[in-house]
Symmetry: C2
Subunit: 519 residues, 2 copies
């Protein structure tokens, strides 16, 4: 009646429609004015809708979204887009035809993060195997807490964690868990380090122990600060080591800590910083941590991919000495969002002890199988998505070798882009890239002959936001910009996807010049 | 060469293969032994693979998975399933043909949580609109932190949160955020209540303030305890109010708290407990909270759906007086996993102040649009999936009315099942269902004439695990069981999906009797 392709409301006499002979024999039952015979939703009847929507997804969200000749985005202001989308939720439903239009619109007005000209975040590109894996997950609706509910995905997660630990260099096992984001992985680390340092905190809380502090380098991700706030440690108890003083951790530990009666319990090192793509020297930090008995966490959410490359894994030299590592395969390795591993060197069940709440309705101990496969009590979540499957299926398809080639190619592409930036008039490289972040300023012709001064940099600071606005409104590409410390706004190109070629690098520089030349 | 349908490795001379005229003119470039001309991954070439995998997903993960004549699960022990799946990750990749087999196997050996005979968790069933929405999300790979990267999904989340607040009864606005699970929503609540009570905790940590305690009813979800551990409050500072004493909160507050110098800051009330489906009396708890100036959080992850029903929303009477509400549309409302809203009554930006870290690389203030649409700084995550879209699209399709009918039907179905349990010999109802949880014992013929004694209940305790093992191995259905307090193991039926009819209820009872009759 509403143009719906299925959903026949309450078929009281189901005998002619329902092929199940058991059901046909049942008399109708009415409870609280609701007829309860026969299902009111028949998924078979939804087949046409599902098929048509899959056609739209393949055409618009996969093919068109990744086509370099299409726009990266179709910009509308929030106010205009609200009008276009008609977002209100009402009492009456809409026809399938209308819903399919809505699907098309949602895709049309969304940013195409899989487009070859999307360089705005630390993820990009389309990985078909991983995408298919995520469709399977969405259709099956599994949740990881017990083996009985998610047998396949429980074992897949275990296999992926094992392999990732092997890549890190933990030869004798360890532990880990996939979870909803790198920020959460870092929080897991802070909490686990704290529990390791003082198991009583779990029961008694921080009010029962001395003030705990943690160290991190200045360039760390903001989730370390968020973790300190969320976990009750306090952001002021995150001691930030200036990046250019990163070799003097020891001195800091002695001076800062003893003076104030605080107790340090962990150091966070970053492998692949968000803005610059820089790597903290893990070996040296590990020496200090071992000497002072501090938990070493390596936030390799972004830089972990370098471990897949024989040529570049030296950037994380010493990572096997870490107590825990956060590594997001959804970034450079292109697993579908989200795919974030938190890996632990401990083999004694520390993770389980730290996180367990032993819910008796979920983790019954009188089950008929080995309940050590029930991973849910290691998690801070209850329902948890089997994100490891999205990485596992693509890894199976590509093999470690192709993952390595992709990583090597991203490094080479970043190097190429940095070379081009140095060659071209009006472009200025911020620093030689260590990884796949290429940071640079664009200086329009009107500013090129001015002397190097605060005034000049104030002007340069205003260039990137305008160029960004223009590229968004044109839809030709998306590149991020930001200030950083005392540095004026600069562009940050992130190179990931094998859908990208050096022609795209050339295009980006040409396009920035086209868009900003008159400024 | 490996049977891959696309991925041609490095086409150095791309002129004949690449339709883009710009690219054809470029000479080959070699950096660090990697050729950088032309993409090495062409998504268009993956079309056959994607199409074939979508066919498999539709056939196996949608149609077959929801077919009542198929098994809910094909049980294998972890050891056997490892053999069947061949999980190892290796250097070499595999052919697309092999990967498609792996997709089929992953589906085959997975539990079908969308099957009409899956009653094992607080979610079940297939919702085609929501599934399609989640496919769109997976294909587009959006992340919610800034409007510029996720314009559509940012506005969709805002619209859904608005509507949910309206349903709760907060007429004058408020705030909120979707996040990765109900447990996280409860953690958001505890942290926000703490921040509201004492904003200094964010910077200074818990070591700078008196011992904070929170109250919750005994039947609350275990995530409250996990939150206390994770957030540094300590599990012993969760004061558990016995369920049968829930009216004497005030006395507890006076006696327990003053005695021990602790400072209470929040009360957690549960609307729809996990095992029994019980509802705490929100009005009475709200009175106490207002009197003592305590933050009231309502964990309505499971029971929130009752708010959609004019007939049943009285169960949450007073919910509009709460300071925050957790509500998971992925449970009874059947949005795809995960879809979890954390809703806040505050209109002053408390959520933002509590969670913000002001990352300058992401939340630049010199953007060209209204940055109040950048929601990422309200979140404890960085990357965040646009889960609201999975609820929005189905709500648009079904309208509030059909959501209401579904909820009413689930209530009626639970009532029917409870009536049947009472009628049938060998079944014993634990309590009249308040919601869609129906809890009961099965007592096999051999135990029916024994006197009511500890010994009898010890025997009954052993029945459910065996029946569960047998139903899993047969694959006929999945129903959870658990002990609870001093109660022996009992079955917990959860009724959600409109794919379920009263015939399925009859089947469950018949099948339990068939499987357990000889015990």
């Amino acid at each position: 009646s509403k143009g719906r392709l299925w959903v026949g409301h309450q078929r009281v006499n189901s005998s002619s429609e329902n092929p199940d002979p058991v059901k046909a024999k049942c008399p109708p039952v009415l409870v609280d004015d609701v007829y309860l015979n026969g299902p009111t939703l028949d998924v078979n009847g939804a087949e046409d809708f599902i098929r048509e929507s899959m056609r739209i997804i393949t055409e618009d969200a996969v093919k068109k979204a990744t086509d370099v000749r299409e726009k990266v985005c179709e910009w509308h202001s929030p106010e205009d887009l609200k009008e276009l989308l008609d977002l209100q939720l009402t009492d009456e439903g809409e026809s399938d035809t209308r819903i399919l239009e809505r699907c098309r619109d949602a895709i049309r007005y969304s940013v195409k993060t899989t487009h070859p000209r999307f360089f705005n975040q630390l993820y990009a590109g389309m990985e078909p195997y991983s995408m298919v894996a995520s469709f399977i997950i969405e259709a099956l609706k599994p949740s990881l807490y017990t083996y009985e509910v998610s047998p396949v995905f429980t074992l897949v997660e275990d296999a992926v964690l094992r392999k990732m630990r092997e890549v890190i260099g933990w030869k004798e096992g360890g532990d880990g868990i996939f979870n909803a984001g790198g920020s959460l992985s870092n929080m897991y680390a802070v909490n686990l380090a704290r529990y390791h340092h003082c198991p009583d905190v779990k029961e008694l809380g921080l009010s029962a122990v001395p003030r705990l502090v943690l160290f991190t380098s200045q360039e760390c991700h903001y989730s370390i600060s968020k973790a300190a706030a969320f976990l009750g440690i306090g952001t002021k108890n995150v001691y930030v080591v200036p990046s250019d003083n990163r070799y003097i951790f020891t001195e800091w530990l002695n001076v800062r800590v003893c003076d104030q009666g605080a107790v340090p319990f962990m150091v966070n090192a970053t492998a692949g910083t968000t803005v610059l793509g820089a790597f903290d020297p893990i070996e040296e930090i590990a020496d200090i941590c071992e000497k002072h008995n501090l938990w070493l966490h390596v936030d390799a959410c972004w830089g972990g991919a370098a471990l897949m490359s024989a040529k570049h894994k030296h950037l994380l030299k010493g990572v096997h000495r870490a107590n825990s590592v956060a590594w997001n395969p959804h970034k450079m390795l292109m697993a579908c969002l989200q795919c974030c591993a938190f890996l632990v060197r401990d083999k004694t069940g520390l993770l389980q002890r730290c996180y367990s709440a032993r819910a008796s309705y979920l983790f019954q101990q009188d089950k008929f199988y080995d309940v050590s496969y029930d991973t849910g009590d290691k998690s801070v979540q209850c329902s948890r998505k089997p994100d490891a499957f999205k990485f596992w299926l693509m890894w199976k398809a590509l093999g470690s070798k192709e993952l390595e080639q992709r990583v090597d190619r991203a490094f080479a592409m970043a190097k190429y882009l940095a070379q081009e930036v140095k060659k071209r008039e009006g472009f200025r490289l911020l620093m030689e890239p260590e990884y796949a972040n290429v940071c640079f300023w664009y200086i329009p012709p009107s500013l090129r002959d001015l002397p190097d001064s605060t005034e000049l940099w104030e002007k340069i600071h205003k260039v990137a936001p305008v160029v960004k606005e223009r590229m968004m409104k044109k839809g030709s590409m998306m590149v991020g910009y930001q200030p950083h410390g005392d540095k004026a706004n600069f562009f940050r190109m992130i190179i990931i996807s094998p859908q990208v070629s050096r022609q795209d690098m050339d295009f980006v520089l040409d396009e920035i010049d086209r868009l900003g030349r008159d400024l």
